[in-house]
Every structure is written in C-alpha cells, then in structure tokens.
Symmetry: C2
Subunit: 692 residues, 2 copies
C-alpha cells in the first residue's frame, strides 16, 4: 500500500466534536490505517452491507429487549429478507472459490456486527449445512444445496445430543435400514440422545442434516453417517408425525436463534436421503463403502467446519474491536479527578491504570485482525488448491493438519480475548457501561457462546497442542511454516534472555518473536517430557495427556496462537512499500500487545530459567507501561480505524461524534415511557395510613 | 464447635440420586461443615426466609425474562409485601446493634439469593437512606427514618450525577437558601449535573435524600450537604412541578430496580429539610457550623456506606458459591470421553484441567465466606463501641481507618472473584451453561454492577493501598492487626523462600501467611520507593500516585485482601475444639485457594527475587494440582455445604437431586410454547416457489 495508490474517499468522514481533541494529536491518517487493516474491496463490501441494513427498518435495533418469541420472528423474517436484498452481485458466483468465499465472509462480518443472531442463523442454515452436504452428499442431494442457498428451505445441522457435545463419537441416534420399504427408520433411544442445541430447529427448520449411526437390517453397525431428515411441512411449519421437535427455550443471548431439540420415533425417510459419498446402502440393504477409509472423508467433512471457526474468529475480532472502541472513546471523553481538589478534571484516558486496562485490547484487536485475515487467506488458498489439484495429497494433508492446529488454538485465543475485552470495557466505562444502551451487555451475552460452540475452547485447544507435540516428537511437517522453529529447538533452548537481548533490541519485533520461540520450545519440552515420563511409569496415555494440560499443553496452545498472530503481523508490517507514517503506529500496537502477552507468560519464562537476572520481567513491564503512554494520543484514531459505523456499534457512550452527555440525555429522555407514571402505579402506592 | 453440641436437624436433607456417587466418598458430614461456615442462628434465619419466599407466589421466578416494566412492577410489589411478611420477630429491634444488624444482614443474604433486585431496592431505600439520615440528620428528620423502615415511603439516595460518580467532590446540584420564604431552591445547572443511576428514583420514590451544594443568599458556597427532597406525590406517584424525573432505561441486569435521573428547576423545599447535623441555616439565612470540622462528620456519613459494601461482599460470596456449586455438580454428572474409544466415559470432574478451572472457586467461596463473616463482626463491634463509648476517639478513628482499608480491598477481591467464577462456571458447563435456566447468565448480569457501585473497584482499591502506604511510611497504627506485619518489615524482607520453607512445611498455613507477608512488604517497598522517587524528580503527587498503580499499588491492594482472608480463615480453623473430621477438608480448601492465589502473584515473587532456585514456582503449581486432585472426592459435599436450596439456586443443571438430564427434559418440554408452532409462522414460511 504505497502513498500514491490509496483511495480513501469511499470511507465516510467522522463527525467533528469533542473527540477531535485527541484525534488531532495522531500523526497518521486513520482512513489509511483502516485500509491497512482491511483491503479496499473487503471494506467496500462491508460499507455496502451496512448501508443496506441501516436503510431497512427490519434491521433496526429495538430500544428495549424484545420477548424471545419476537426476537425469533424478526430473525426468521430477516433471514428471508436476505434473499431479496442486493447483498451480492450475481457475478459473485463466477468468482474463484477464494474470492467468492472472501466476499461472503465479508458480508457475514458486516451482518454479524448488526444482527448476530441472523449471522449465526445463516452460518448454520446455509454455510454449515451446505458445506456438510458438499462433503458428505452426492449429486442426488444437490437440489437441497441450491434451495438452502436461495433460502427456499430452512435447514439445520443436527449433530450434538443432550448428553454428548464434544464427544461426537458417542452419538446414539440410530438410522436402521428397512429393505422392505427402502427406507431408513430414525430413532432416538432416549432423551439423553435427543438432538439438542440445533440452531434453526426450534421453530422453523423444515429439514435437518442429522448425524446418526447407520444400521443395516442384519443389525450391523456401520458407524456415523449423515441423513437428510424432513422435520416440518414447509407450507405449514407443522412437524411430521414421529418427530417430536421443540425449542430449548431462552438463552443468555442470541435469542433470535431458535435452538431446538428433536426426538424421532420410528420415523421413516427415503433411502436416498442418506448422504452417500463415503458409503451407501443398496436398495436391497447391503452396505457399500465407496472409499476404503470413510473415516478420513468424514474427517474431511468435519474439517469443513473450519470455515465456521474462521467466521467465529472474524466475528470475535470485530466484537473485540467494538469493545475496545467503546472503552477508548469513553475514556477520552470521561473526566474524573485531577491534580488539584478544585482544579480541572482530567480525561480518564490519561491515567496509566486505565491505559493499561484498555489499550492492550485495542492493540490485540489490530494484531488479531491482521492475523485472522492472513489465516483465512491461507485456508482459502489451500481449499482451492485441493479442489484444483489431485496431486500432492500428502503435502495437502500436512497443510490441512497444520491449518487445523492454527485454527484450533486461534479460535480460543480470539474468542477469549474478545470475552475479556468486553468485560474490561464494561467496567472501564463504569455505571454507564452497565446501560443496555452501551451495547456492552449485548456484546457479552451474544459473544459468550463463541467460547463453546464449534469446539469448546478448552477441548479444541488440545488439538493444537497435540499437533505441536507430534511435530516435537517426530519429524517436523510444517509446510505453512508455523512450527518450523522446532527444527531449531536445540539452538533456541540454548538461548536465554541475555543472548536474545544482545542481538535484538527490546523494542524490536524480532526480540518478541525470538522470546516466543524459546517459550514454545520450553513448553513443548516440558509437556512432552511430562507425558513420556508418566507413560514410562505405567500411566495410561489418557491420564498422561490429561495430567499435562495445566501449566503445559494449555499454555502451549495459547502461546502458539499468539506467536502465529504476532508473526503474521510482523510479516505484514515489515513488507516493503508500507507507508512509513503508518509504520510507527503499527509497531507501537505490536509492542503493546506483545509485552502484554509476554507478561502473562512471565511465570513460565521464570520457571524455565529464561532470565534469572530479573531484567526481563522488569523491562517488559516497564516498556508495556511506556508504550501505553505513547499510544495514548493515538488511541482514539486507532479506534476510528477499526470501529464499525455508529449504527452497528450501537453504543450511546461510544459514538463517533463524541457527544457523550448529549447522547446520554437523548437516550434517557426517549427511552419508552421514561418520564411517564407507570401503568401499575396503583399496585405500589404507599398504604393510606402513611402521613408523609 | 465440638461434636456434642451440634444440632444439624434443622438443615433439610438432600435428595438421594446420582450425586451420591461422589457424596458417599466425602469423609465429613456436609451439614456440620455448613455449620462451620455459618452460625446456627444465622442459618436458621436464612432457612426461614427462604421458606417464606418459596411459599409466596409473588416471589416465584418467571421462566422467561419479563419486560423490564413488569420486572419493576413486581419488585416494587415485593418491596411492599415485605412489610406484611413475618421477616423478623418484633423483639429483633430490642437486640443490640450488632445482633440486630447481623439479623437483618442474614435476611438480606437470603432475599438476595432469590431476588437480587429486591435486595438492592431495600438496601438503597431503607438501609442506605436511613444510615445517611442517621449520620447527617437530626431529631426533626426521624419521622422519615421510621416511615422508611416501615415501608410507608419509598426513598432514594441521590448522590451520583451524570458526569460525576467516583468524584463526589465535583457534584454540581445547588441548594440556595431564600430567607424570604425560608426555603431552599434546588437547581440542576445542566444535564451533566442531573442526578443519575439513583435506585428507586425512576418510577417509585416519593422522597430523595439529595446531595447538593449549599449556598446562602449572600452567594457563599458552604459545600456539600444532604437535603430531603420530595419527588412525587405518594398518593398518585405524579412528580411535583419543578422536578423532571424519569427512568434511565434498560440495564444489563437488575431491571427490577427503577434507576432514575432527576433535574430540578427552581424547586423549593422547606428549610427544615436540610440535614443539619453538621451545619444549619437559621431562618434569616445565616450558616451555622455545628462542628468545627464538618467534613469529618460528612466523612463519617459516607463511612456509613461500609454497611452497604459489606452487604455487597456477603452477596458476592453467595453468588460465588452458587456459581461454584453449579459447576461442581455439573462436572460430577456430566460424562465426556474416556480411556478407550468404545469404553465408558468419565465424569468431567475427573479431568485435572476441569478441577483446576473450578475447584479454586469452590475453595475461594469457603475462605471468603469465613473472611467476610469475621470482617463484619469486627465492623459491627466497632460501630457498637463507637455508640457506647465517648472515650478513646483516637483509637476508634484508627480502627475505622483500618476497617475501611480492609473493606476497600476486600470488596474488589470478592466481587471480582465472583465475577470470574460465574464466567468459568458458564464455560465449564458448556452449552447447557448458556441456557437461561442454568441461571449463570442471571448471576452474571445481576452481579456485574457490584464491581462498580458503592465504589468502583479500581478506585476503591486505591484507598486500601493508600492506607497501607501510610502505615509503611509512618508509624504503624493497626489496632485490628491487619498491618502489624509491617513492624517486622526488615526481618520479613530479609527472608526468602528457602528461609521460610526451612521453618514451615509447604502444606502449612504458616508457610502461606509468611509468603504473603513477604509479598506485601515487597510491594509496599516497591510502590513507596517509586512514588518517592517520582516526587524527588519533581513529579506532581497526583502523577506519582497514578504511575505507581500498575504492578504496584493495585497488586498490593489485592494481595492485602487475600492475606486478610487467609489469615482470618487460619484463625478460625486453628481455633481449639474444632471437629477434627472437618479440619482436614478445611485445611485442603485453604491450600487450594492459597496456592492458586500465590500462583497469580508468581511474577511479583519472581521480580522481587523471592526464589531464584525455581523451587517455589514448581512446588506451588505441583501442589495446587495435587490438592485439587485430593479435593475431587469431597467437592460435591463441600458444594452441598455452601449451596442455597434448589429454589434459590434456580439452576436446571445444578439441582441437588443430580437428575441432570431428567431436569433438562422437563425444562425443554415445559418452557412456554416449546412444542407449539410459532404464532408468526405465516410470516416466515418459505416462498411458494419452493418445491421442496
């Protein structure tokens, strides 16, 4: 992005106002920074979608929380409306897989920032359903693909059962083939095996891609398969006989989604509804494997959920950004206490404690935004390659494994960072942060399940550490390059803080990256040794692995995701042609996030003997505070560069006009019935005996 | 509590069920443990209140979130109902101050666990209002005291303004005396000075104790005073002319409270409505100071908020307990994965990672429960002493300062620990934790403002560190004994890990307490030196203090609260006559909480050079995991000992019967409209063009 070629004219200006006191101090153009974080074509898509949603009353945000039934109705209507809006030009579908998917992901990001329930409904009902259909189905199922795409059917993906979430291998729903009628008979053995938490299933889905164990009529168990199971009559939304389907009820958030449960009793579906890419049942009832290792294909189908996880990560980084933007703008505007009792008060952004609480999240939003973008590119390129190229299967398998490891560690990192940012922002905005109109409560309640769905963070993270441990214990197979450092393990572990600081200044990205490589090697060595030792002592591998999680594999997984993010960011910032005006602020953001992360790993550095001179801990902490101080005058403009429009941010205390108290006044005065006597006044007036 | 004298018969038995698998493994009687945590008389009060609330339909919990207007109506009706229930026997009011207050606090704890909004409404409208009235008013105001007590009037306490929360010195509402009519004229200069967030004010309060700057007619500013300001006609709930009062709108939680704002325009109130204990205005308009240092009395009035903070701490420990109980019971019942692919699954409580995530909160609940109880006793005894004794003013001032420091650090510790426990419990219960019926979302949203109100945690915590620094820099004045260690500072700082471990085994409470004393001295020395150095370099004291918060005063404040809690707990557990069967489990709980806390301070221990042999970090972490493992078979019974009844816990996944899936089934099937076609089905059926 060189100076000459940047067109920022399509980015709307921000209103002048009280925030300009800080905006004017920034030494860079926030629009150019915005275009560093997001490509022009991506940003144009988002602004387009935001404009569409803002101008359609169906997407207007209600001032008060609606009853959950109303929320479901509106989200379902919004989903139907999508087909009639100018979301994507028709030629999108002629683009390459990469470009098309990036287009749709950008659309999703914009939708999610306004209507998270709708975004999830689409992701489940169109994205995941169709991905699974593609991976598991064959030509005869493609009509459902198109229908879902065009929103002619409402679909659901039914995997989770009441008693089994993470452990999909224990799913107990059955599909038994009946050669007499050439049908599968679907049964739910008991409530614990009821499909559960299935999005869109509670009230609206007419068909559910359902995972069940396939039995042939001879009683042989052929393992988990996918089936297209009709649930409701599309014209009446009445469930079919044999299907007991319902809504699981109110949740902490995302109540626009009708999460449902379903139990089947001798419910018959046609033979053709088996998704038969890996195995099929002939009309007379014989099971035929299409590939020799169907589990691998099924694994590939499940792998197609990576797109879902990337979507969650993109959304989480946006949520993280929103929380940071609200907290930064509020801190610039809110004044409290000052040098003298009767003197002027100072903006709370001036307090080092406030900076330290808020700025690392602002920096995290920037670093992770770059990282998830690059990770998505790598993922999309790999999938495209796999579609084009029938050669290089082994290399592709390695790439897929590595990407899976990065995603499995990064999804927890990003969702947890967003979770913490929202809470810190809520508290950093004091009482006003507790208003529904601050939007921080909505962000928190809607973001919360991201830590659980599409792979519980604690369980998913273990897939990354397992992969890393395999690299450590065997030959390093890291075509993407995220674990190449393991090849240098001996040299890395021979280093310590003094060695690294002798080569790289503390303010350099290289210093951070080298420290991280030491940290990762130490954690790998420690975790691997602990597991090997346990096994040599006769412990079961299950116990050995479980005992190596805390202070071992768990920290490893997290550090790996941070390393990957910092490494990606470094590559981007150190690329040639970067506008030098941006480089300073981008460096500063890197260091704030990096020092903050290093500080959280400080006990591990200590435990590993990285530095017993005590300089590392003192320097990292002192520098973090210093860099926060340096960031202070740029923070508002950095926030502008990652903020969604006010319509999407939807926070009375975080608007870009900076008119904090005027906006609060409007909010207070116009909330429904604010100034009216309550309709129930007669129920609560004080008893007549009172004389006061 | 010796074996002979314990009557546990009034504690209801728990139902037999799947939880007995773990319950049967505990080596102690959970009812006896319960009576260790709470005195019999306190527990009897709570069970009585729970019974009253459970049997009155007005206190039944709705299955779905009600519209906020309905929530307000019900909470207001509940508040009126309180006067008609058999809450306290009439002779409660003849008890000593200590006994009476403890009685009312116990009532509040039970109410809060069922109806948090109601609890806060009473605390504000009766407790805080009357405390402030007592501290600032005189005989002529006592009729309001009684009326508030008997719930004949609905009151509010109006301090906070839109632009000023923590910094009450900048309040801008004015009360100007008019000798012609012998009235004060109340004015709100602009919206930023509108009283704001005032509980009970939004819809119902008829009178507000309002803080305003008193001006005499000669234009002289006499500083902040309290005034009784009529807001609404008690018979019609219509506001009086000159009073623009309204509700601030929906919040993240606690929507049963009508938080309001109010602006006054030339609103006249009688001269007698000035709370005139510290200063008065004569009918002709002269200001008369009653004491020479009215600010001190005002300080005492504000100090009366300590009771409110103690209430918040008691509630927070109960909230923390509820979150831990839900997570422990769910972990015992939920099975996922196992040793062999096709073998039985194991309860997730068996996983070390799960133990490490959940058990420290269970242990924290136990330790902090003891601590807040002891702290309350100290506080109550001090207040009673101050009422009885006119001598020993200086000693009393010291005690009050010290208690204020303990409260100022403990309120943040307890509210933050509860906050984190809820979030960890939510995630530790996976998707089912995201159901509204798990109650974790309600706990989170209702608990959240505790971190802000009655003193923002970050601001309040500084009052503790400031007090500690004064002890460090001057003569130690610690009549309660919490800072006596400072007198031994030189000896303490001369020690390190090897010295302490040579004297006390790692599993001993003394080891922990001595490590904490080192930590506190190190942080005091570091923070004090940093501030002195900054001032010697010409920095303003305001900057010096602000720059010493992160990694200094902030950690100090937290460590001090933990030290106080652990120290109190140790005293209780090491008291003679303790049932030896309980001693083991109580020791174990101490160590789990203590190691977990020490681990969080590990970087500071490292930075301070406490142990460069690396043994301390390795031992603390290894022991924490080991103690969690030891706690595993007792955890369910410990949870039973701190759990409220199922009615109050209100969690479908945390019930004491352990019938996890049966309860979920009932919940799913009976949530309103669960199995019905939505009324809005015609709005969302797929377009007729669909053929599927």
């Amino acid at each position: 992005m060189s100076t000459e070629t940047v067109d920022t004219s399509f980015i709307p200006d921000l209103p002048k106002g009280p925030l300009c006191e800080y905006r004017d101090r920034a030494k860079f153009d926030w629009k150019r920074l915005r275009l560093f974080f997001e490509e022009e074509k991506v940003l144009r898509i988002k602004y387009k979608i935001w404009k569409i949603l803002e101008s359609d009353p169906l997407f207007a945000k209600p001032k008060q929380t609606l009853p959950t039934d109303q929320q479901k109705r509106i989200a379902a209507m919004q989903m139907n409306r999508m087909a009639h809006l100018d979301i994507a030009p028709s030629d999108v579908y002629n683009l390459s897989f990469q470009e098309k998917t990036r287009y749709l992901m950008s659309v999703n990001e914009a939708i999610h920032s306004v209507c998270p329930s709708l975004s999830v409904k689409i992701a489940l009902g169109v994205g995941l359903f169709n991905n699974a259909l593609l991976a598991m189905g064959t030509e005869r199922h493609m009509k459902y693909y198109k229908a879902a795409w065009n929103r002619e059917i409402v679909t659901a993906l039914a995997i989770t059962e009441v008693a089994h979430g993470s452990n999909t291998k224990c799913i107990r729903t059955t599909a038994t083939y009946d050669p007499k009628t050439q049908e599968f008979i679907i049964n739910t053995p008991d409530f614990e095996a009821a499909k559960c938490w299935v999005g869109n299933l509670g009230k609206t889905a007419t068909i559910a891609l359902t995972f069940a164990i396939l039995y042939t009529s001879d009683g042989v168990n052929h393992g988990l398969h996918g089936f297209l199971v009709p649930i409701r009559d599309p014209q009446t939304l009445k469930p079919y006989p044999g299907v007991l389907v319902g809504d699981i009820g109110e949740k902490i958030g995302l109540n626009g989604i009708d999460n449902g449960f379903v139990m089947f009793t001798n419910y018959r579906i046609p033979r053709e509804n088996l998704l038969n890419r890996t195995g099929d049942v002939t009309p007379d009832g014989s099971y035929v494997s299409v590939f020799t290792e169907p589990s691998k294909i099924l694994g590939a189908a499940l792998e197609s959920f990576s797109a879902g996880r990337l979507g969650i990560m993109q959304e989480s980084v946006n949520t993280l950004s929103s929380a940071a933007v609200i907290a930064v703008r509020y801190a610039a505007l809110r004044k409290q206490f000052g040098y003298e009792m009767d003197g002027p008060e100072v903006s709370i952004i001036e307090y080092p404690l406030q900076q330290w609480r808020v700025f690392p999240y602002l920096a995290a939003a920037c670093v992770l935004k770059i990282s998830v973008y690059e990770l998505t590119n790598t993922y999309l390129a790999t999938v495209e390659k796999s579609q084009a190229d029938s050669n290089g299967f082994e290399m592709l398998t390695q790439i897929v494994s590595e990407i899976h490891a990065v995603i499995s560690s990064s999804k927890p990192l990003m969702t947890w960072t967003a979770r913490d940012a929202i809470q810190e922002a809520r508290e950093a905005c004091g009482g006003h942060g507790y208003l529904k109109a601050s939007n921080l409560g909505e962000l928190r309640n809607n973001h919360d399940p991201s830590c659980t769905y599409e792979g519980d963070n604690n369980v998913l993270g273990q897939q990354a550490s397992n992969w890393l441990l395999r690299q450590w214990e065997g030959t390093v197979e890291s075509p993407v390059g995220t674990a190449k450092f393991i090849q240098r393990r001996d040299r890395i572990l021979a280093l310590n803080y003094s060695d690294i600081i002798a080569r790289f200044p503390l303010d350099s990205m290289d210093f951070v990256i080298h420290s991280y490589e030491w940290l990762l090697c130490f954690l790998l060595k420690k975790t691997s040794s602990a597991m090997k030792h346990a096994i040599s002592q006769g412990h079961h591998k299950f116990d050995a692995r479980n005992n190596a999680q805390v202070y071992g594999a768990r920290d490893l997984s997290r550090a790996y995701a941070e390393y990957y993010a910092l490494y990606n960011y470094q590559k981007r910032v150190e690329a040639p042609n970067l506008d030098p005006k941006l480089k300073d602020i981008l460096n500063l953001l890197f260091l704030v996030y990096a020092y903050w992360c290093l500080d959280k790993h400080m006990t591990t550095f200590y435990e590993g003997g990285f530095d017993l001179s005590l300089k590392f801990v003192k320097e990292v902490r002192a520098r973090l505070l210093q860099k926060c101080r340096e960031l202070k005058d740029s923070a508002v403009s950095v926030a502008d560069a990652i903020a969604p429009p006010d319509f999407a941010l939807n926070s009375v205390i975080g608007r870009s006009d900076g008119l904090l108290y005027q906006n609060l006044q409007m909010e207070f005065m116009t909330n429904p019935g604010a100034l009216e006597r309550p309709s129930w006044w007669k129920d609560v007036i004080t008893p007549p005996k009172s004389k006061l």
